[in-house]
């Protein structure tokens, strides 16, 4: 059930003088059950890319295949695609509209034309997956805290039972507590359901602890596509494109320059601690 992009180009306003080449020759595959971080600063094309994944934008050139089928073929139902590739936009709580939490989460599966029992069963399961217990079901979504609202919105997409869940900056505007909760919840539902998750972010620190693969975007192209420790190794290149490696990476690079025998590829605090202790012992 993989999603595959082949030489995708996208140009905004291609018929005007102000044409912007937002995506340049993107080749990417999202296999089953992978946890991917998509990193890039504002304007790198990551939001445009994300909208291609579920058919909201049509590539100017190139093809996108879901499960081996071209998604822009006439016979391919967009609704089906969108139920398989769930997209959670930035500030998703701004899309909530129903009188209570439960009805709002039902909106997606209802649009799929499922029977009422199935719709409600899915909504219930989605809400539990994001850690909202039954007591919230009948509350107005507008009375919840920022982090809770966002979880309701994520549940709204989850209830469509996607095989791939794409989240565009799910932590934007949240405080550290809310951020950790959301990221923890996403990791949890990834483990529970085994679906693929694409986490779009501009913060390396956010994704470093969770993902198994990082795709770095810059000016509409894929700059790096590798496991985190390899990607973070390119400190200089990352900095040149306005991104920063996690602070830990900086410290370790600095220590190496000062002659410490530490492993530069450690990305988490625990790994860094161990390699520093080791270096001090042996040195």
């Amino acid at each position: 059930m993989s999603l595959k992009l082949e030489h995708v180009n996208y140009i905004y306003g291609s018929d005007t003088k102000l044409a912007v080449h937002a995506l340049k020759d993107i080749c990417l595959e999202i296999p089953d059950g992978q946890f991917i971080g998509l990193i890039g600063h504002t304007g790198s094309g990551k939001s445009t890319l994300v909208q291609h994944l579920n058919g909201l934008l049509e590539p100017t050139e190139g093809k996108i295949f879901y499960d081996g089928r071209d998604i822009w073929e006439k016979s391919f139902s967009k609704k089906e695609l969108r139920s398989n590739v769930g997209l959670v936009f930035q500030y998703p709580e701004h899309q909530l509209f129903e009188v209570d939490v439960f009805s709002d989460v039902c909106y997606g599966p209802k649009n799929l034309g499922l029977p009422k029992e199935e719709v409600e069963a899915r909504a219930r399961q989605a809400l539990r997956l994001v850690g909202l217990s039954e007591e919230y079901d009948k509350q107005s979504p507008f009375e919840l805290s920022g982090g809770q609202k966002r979880r309701v919105a994520i549940a709204g997409v989850l209830a469509m039972r996607p095989k791939i869940l794409v989240l565009d900056e799910p932590t934007a505007g949240l405080d550290p507590k809310g951020r950790d909760e959301i990221l923890g919840q996403i990791a949890h539902l990834k483990r529970e359901t085994g679906i693929s998750v694409v986490l779009v972010s501009h913060s390396m620190e956010d994704v470093a602890n969770y993902v198994e693969r990082i795709v770095v975007m810059n000016r509409g192209s894929v700059l790096f596509d590798d496991v985190p420790r390899e990607v973070f190794g390119h400190v200089k290149e990352l900095e040149e494109v306005g991104l920063a490696a996690p602070q830990v990476t900086y410290i370790l690079h600095q220590l190496v320059e000062c002659g410490f025998a530490v492993d530069r590829q450690a990305t988490t605090i625990a790994e860094a601690r161990d390699t520093i202790l080791n270096a001090l012992k042996t040195g």
Binding site: G173, K177, G242, I251, I269
Partner: protein
């Protein structure tokens, strides 16, 4: 004399049900006292709902305390006749960059405050030019705010406050909705106006790396000030901060972890340079 003097300030939000009957009160700020010296760079930390934004709105007289008093440049914010003077001496920049720009052209927005104050036309132009230069947005003076990035919009907002010639500026989570580059630019602008112009800056944030440069840090939780001191003093209490669910800079966290593993490192290491220097000392000694 201090520029801001809060004495036993409490503020209650009144919750109403659908018919408008009072359901109950929520104490958002609880017996807060603080005093801020002119020219200081102050940071207030705390997660959402800790009362930090409510406290900030008191400094601009957008809210007045339910109990206690707030004096801004010696003026009581509770008195009706002081309101405009208070708002002029303590400017405020808010979180959402889109919802605080009034003008359709950058320079007109910056001129909005001085216009309201009744400043003569010629002087408005001087102030607008000087403020836009201060935040590095002069080149964009003829642009429409809609075409700017979030960080640029926030710098325009800072210029808009600056043009009112305030003694103090309150930045209420100005970087919460920005990307890392925008965040850096805004913090740089805030630090510059503190360093160069000597304006008192009160920065409300939940990003730890932004408060390292502050003269004093206040940490709020459940409406109270629970920690205060220099950044080093505050960040040396890693476990306490973690209990408050606040971030600690990764360097500080790493140093703390190393300390727990038995390395004799000092408390409150804030930068990578400090940590490297300390580790070198250890290596050379051992």
């Amino acid at each position: 004399m201090s520029i801001i003097e809060a004495a036993h300030v409490s503020y209650d939000y009144i919750r109403r049900d659908e018919e408008g009957n009072i359901e109950g009160e929520v104490r958002a700020v609880n017996d807060v006292s603080l005093s801020i010296a002119p020219g200081d760079f102050i940071a207030i930390l705390g997660h959402n709902g800790s009362g930090k934004s409510t406290l900030a709105k008191h400094i601009n007289a957008l809210l007045v305390p339910s109990e206690g008093t707030v004096l801004v440049d010696g003026k009581d914010t509770k008195l009706e006749e002081n309101v405009w003077e208070v708002r002029q001496s303590a400017g405020m920049v808010f979180q959402n960059p889109d919802n605080q720009i009034i003008g359709q052209v950058v320079e007109e927005d910056v001129g909005f405050g001085p216009e309201n104050m009744g400043i003569p036309t010629k002087e408005i132009w001087e102030r607008v030019e000087e403020s836009l230069k201060m935040v590095g947005m002069y080149a964009y003076r003829k642009h429409s705010p809609n075409k700017l990035s979030g960080g640029q919009k926030q710098r325009v907002s800072i210029a808009g406050v600056l043009a009112m010639h305030p003694k103090c500026i309150v930045l209420d989570e100005p970087t919460a909705m920005l990307d890392p580059n925008g965040r850096k630019d805004v913090i740089r602008a805030a630090r510059a106006l503190n360093d160069v112009e000597g304006v008192t800056v009160i920065l409300i944030t939940h990003y730890m790396e932004e408060v390292i440069f502050a003269d004093r840090v206040f940490v709020m939780d459940e409406g109270r000030i629970v920690m205060q001191g220099t950044p080093r003093e505050v960040f040396s209490q890693v476990e306490r901060l973690q209990k408050l669910r606040l971030d600690v800079p990764q360097v500080t966290l790493l140093a703390h972890e190393l300390q727990k593993s038995g390395l004799p490192l000092p408390d409150g290491i804030l930068t990578a340079e400090e940590l490297t220097a300390e580790l070198e000392k250890l290596r050379d000694a051992g």
